[in-house]
Amino acid sequence: MSTVCRHGKESRSLTHKNDHCVGCGICVDMCPTEAIRLGPVMPVARGLLEADLININQKECCLCGLCAASCPFDALEFNLNGKNSKELGNYPQWTHNANIDSETCIYCGRCETACPQDAIYLKRVLPTIDELVRGETDIDKDKCIYCGICEEMCPANAIEIEFNQINSNNPQVASNIKIDESKCIYCSICKRVCPESAIKIVCTTCMSQEDIIIPEIEGNIILDDKKCINCGWCQEICPVDAAQVIKPFEGEIFYVDDFECKGDSCHACADVCPCNAISMVDNRSVVNPVFCTLCGACAKACPQKGIVIKRSSMKLKNIKSKSWNDRLGGLLHQASQSK
């Protein structure tokens, strides 16, 4: 986290929140005084270095706030007299967002696994096994020879052979057996495998269908807005359409025609992509536009300058002045390639 701060007629401060920054370089492109430089984004992404993803030159920065207004990831905070410019009505506002509807969510957890920013937290309460199956068990201890075959084969780990150290000189010799009915699924593997026919298992699950209530899986799902980068993974992967993502930009990402992608020996684009949208296929970079936010981090990281980002619209609203409109409008239509 770094801050530029000056006091005059009013106090202005600009703070870079590195943990929100994806190293896309949009601020670098927007800064009118070229005060922002991109840091070592690729080495940081590979874990080779620890450094801020951008560097702000304090002397060059004019504290205009354009960078904070343009950042779709809320990684730059611009304050006027201690108030965040986003809360002042006359500064631009991003309107992209993401939401997971907990009413619709079935707590399958696919989004939590897929989220490239670990922005989704899921906690679910599953039913117990004995709520779902019915049956009876019985072991004839006169017949049981405590061989442990049933214990070894039980797929539910419901059988426990006990070793009674008081009654036996050798603690390896078993002296009791138990079936834990909260774990038993009445599959009868133990019964079939028992060499002494000492186990009886009766499964009544099918007969008791009407008594077994289909449980509703309860849970909690939280999408952390601060971590979310609106990549769209959750929306795409959700089987019940509980996740809705509005991305910051619409447009396209493509490769230049004569692109000599170095594929597996470079893979800088895939490393820096905050959305997990790029992979190497047949030694070439391949982007899945469904998961791309068009942030442009890959285009800036590509040493061959082979990736082109073409944004057609953005969810940045409330741009009031013409000069800001001209400047921020530069995010659209221009092909954003590495400089």
């Binding site: 070592p40 690729m42 080495p43 170095k262 597996d264 020996s265 470079c266 800088a268 990281a301 040493p303």
Partner: protein
Amino acid sequence: MPVVIDLEKCGKIAECPGEGLCIKICEQGALIEKEGEIVLVPDNCDDCDLCIQNCPNQAISKE
């Protein structure tokens, strides 16, 4: 065409902010460490230019 290291700009491994970042970045083994020095193995370079782009001293280029 393999890269060229400007020895005046290069801080060597000891002075490099990334402690020999180019060596760590190059997965082709075209930039290796030998007795504390950065050594170029031209035959291994496949012109990905990743080292050129990421050298903190801007010491790597192509002629």
